[in-house]
Symmetry: C2
């Protein structure tokens, strides 16, 4: 019997996170105050985040200890399995060797709890009683609800109203873990009331939900805010994925030539790729790391590298990132986790320095990839994950054309149990291509009056 | 860090199934022909099942080899993890040690693929091109769709119409794996047309869906039928669960005093319990094995042991089983997998011989148990699994009262990702007790004119 699944023992859960900032040839540029355009220090983050997370956000230390309490909760789903995708290889008739790390076995079904748990832990350590956050499709809100429940903290999730109405199962999941879920815009906040005054039937947006969650945290002593991607400390927490995968590749007696992961704000990609990128930066290896994004939200492949706001309404500091402009509204694709206008600061700098690559895929193509995967490997992937699979398929086909047997590793970041409607839409021909014209992107970027780099 | 998760290596997937019939002091009584009331032989099953499965159905061999091709597919989700439930123990403040085997990590989210895969495999071996089956809530239909896809066979699922309309996600999941899903009753079969002639708006029933699936298989040469529980070979395939769990208990340096599993037709319970029951039968150990059933469908705790049909419309042979009568219609509880009027033959004989125990739980109690579990352990269980958890909680509380530290192991047979509506109903107070009066049970049993034992 061929080995399909490479597992690790509970004792092999990493005890440190990897901070790629320590190894970057060009360090990230500082965030700027939107009023003064001066660099801001970590103290500006204190109303929103606990001190330990702020330290992690700005540190250049290479390794950060993972607390035992966090590893203990990680052990519910970690170490996650790594698979050799024999079925997909056969379906593609490729000489490539394809592996995937599977993060869908966590209680909320994605990689998001890898950072939700430590974020809840550090807040608890500093006496915080309640964490607020926003959620679109619900993956991040579910993960944080699960994490807060474990530390007996309240969790208030501002869920984009249209998602709240369309995705009741995700809301119910959060309720089951004891979280409060509000359809945003609400009348609890200044931001929400302002929107409702203009449009009582507002369907909400991620930008509005962020504004509400941030406002609630900033104006209350016992409450902080948590974000599920983009920030340095969030990306760093996800490196447990790649650190485990490296041990598993060693066990398999193999080493990836190509790493692939879907790209929303960067945490999924960073989680798998950064520990392997370390080998490029430290030991001169040449592992290609490819971020896969939707063609309808192509900040890495068609955006610009400049200062922009992290949110839509302009409440955050200005961050140096690849962006489509903070007013950019992506098409309503099913991969809700990839509908973000910007890329995390660290990933943006790495792309700018040509240390990583990016590729975009259109919507029908990614479902074709997901269905092929489900039928050849068994697991039905989340639509976000299908973007990575589409890149893998393209690379595996290239191997076939060129007659080369590359080793490809990708991040299967979540299962599609809550996304069956998306697959049904695909089968009924309702999934359409979202071609973005150069004019549309230019229109969004033209509205930016933030500093160029 | 305390060990929470006990894992096994892929190489430790069992290479044999355990057949408890070999060790039973009283062997199961034979099935009877409903017309002649004479015992029937295995040849009567030939139109519906491949020869190898018929052999497995009637064999008294103790160990049956698991084919490498089956173990290879098992390795997608097997070995499954076993957990020490520290969170639940703490929440209950009990001296009991609680462990659970988690089967929800399979592609379709339950233990059902453990038998779907070998059933598809043996059909494929014998040249069968298509398998038919029925499904209610969709767990079994999903598992068989996944399995048939792997062997490149067609799969026709007759899904009870009311479930087809209420549970579209399960249908879409089956479609994603390439299965054809029909809302039963259909106009494809005599059975379906007969029902539709009487009632064009019939919501369907599991009994009707079975009739349709059986008719399609019986009348076509290249088509066979598959069942997800009740039959001996199905129960036997599930013993991989208990065989793995025994290795894991050894690794944990512990041994269960009490085994608990939910009970529908018996495969879930048999899967975990039978390998441990072997120790009672062979070595004189005294491990209590408790089957947990819904109070609204209490065949084990309030039914009678007699011959009855396996289906509702009376197409199958007569089987010696604990039954509520094949006309019994259970209340529409969310645990669709436990809404079956009878118990598998082997489990029935074991209960008759007092070698196992049974307990029933009412509906609000099982959701209370499920929510406590989700909040203390992280995983949100399927409603079926909540019945087992309710028994575990009762036993753990007894340990607390008596000051004894029993070791309890239960089967967490599936996740609740497709059952969030059930939890929402619970939180909104819509889940009610289904008290069955003695008259209601008597009324169903009075309609039986099948032989007493």
């Amino acid at each position: 019997m061929k080995t399909r699944k490479i597992t690790l023992d509970e004792k092999e859960i990493p005890d440190k996170w990897y901070n790629i900032v320590a190894d970057m040839p060009n360090k990230p540029l500082p965030p700027l105050h939107p009023g003064t355009l001066e660099p801001i220090g970590p103290e500006a983050l204190a109303p929103l985040f606990p001190m330990e997370l702020i330290k992690q956000e700005v540190t250049a230390d290479k390794w950060i200890d993972i607390p035992d309490e966090v590893r203990n909760i990680y052990s519910i789903w970690r170490p996650t399995p790594m698979y050799r995708a024999y079925g997909l290889e056969k379906a593609l008739d490729t000489p490539a060797k394809i592996y995937y790390k599977y993060e869908g076995g966590s209680p909320s079904g994605s990689h998001k709890p890898n950072t939700a748990v430590p974020q809840a832990y550090y807040n608890k350590q500093e006496g915080i009683k309640r964490i607020t956050t926003e959620t679109g499709a619900g993956q991040w809100g579910s993960a944080l609800s699960f994490a807060c429940q474990h530390f007996d903290m309240a969790c208030d999730v501002y869920m984009v109203k249209i998602s709240y109405n369309h995705k009741p199962y995700r809301k119910m999941m959060m309720n089951t873990w004891g979280a409060n879920v509000f359809a945003s815009p609400t009348d609890q906040t200044e931001a929400g009331r302002k929107i409702l005054a203009q449009d009582p039937d507002s369907p909400g947006s991620l930008g509005i939900a962020i504004s509400e969650a941030v406002e609630m945290a900033a104006t209350r002593d016992d409450t902080k805010y948590a974000l599920g991607s983009v920030l340095n400390h969030v990306l760093m927490h996800q490196t447990v994925i790649g650190l485990e995968a490296m041990k598993q590749m060693e066990k398999a007696g193999d080493m990836p030539d190509i790493i692939v992961a879907p790209f929303g704000g960067g945490s999924n990609f960073a989680g798998l790729a950064f520990p392997f990128l370390r080998l490029n930066l430290e030991e001169g290896k040449n592992i290609r790391c490819i971020a896969s994004e939707p063609a309808s939200c192509p900040k890495l492949t068609r955006g610009v590298f400049r200062y922009d706001f992290g949110d839509t309404v302009g409440m955050t500091p200005l961050l140096p990132m690849y962006t489509l402009g903070h007013d950019f509204v992506p098409a309503p694709i099913h991969a809700g986790g990839l509908r973000y206008h910007g890329a995390g600061v660290v990933v943006s700098q790495l792309l700018k320095d040509k240390l990583i690559e990016a590729r975009s895929h259109n919507d029908p193509e990614i479902f074709e990839a997901g269905v092929l995967f489900a039928r050849s490997e068994g697991i039905i992937p989340a639509p976000e994950a299908n973007h990575g699979i589409a890149t893998v398929i393209a690379e595996a086909k290239k191997c076939k054309e060129e007659g080369t047997a590359k080793t490809i590793l990708f991040n299967l970041c979540g299962h599609g149990n809550f996304d069956m409607k998306a697959y049904d839409d695909y089968f009924s021909g309702k999934i359409v291509k979202h071609e973005l014209s150069q004019e549309e992107i230019k229109a969004s970027l033209d509205m930016l009056n933030t500093p160029e780099i």
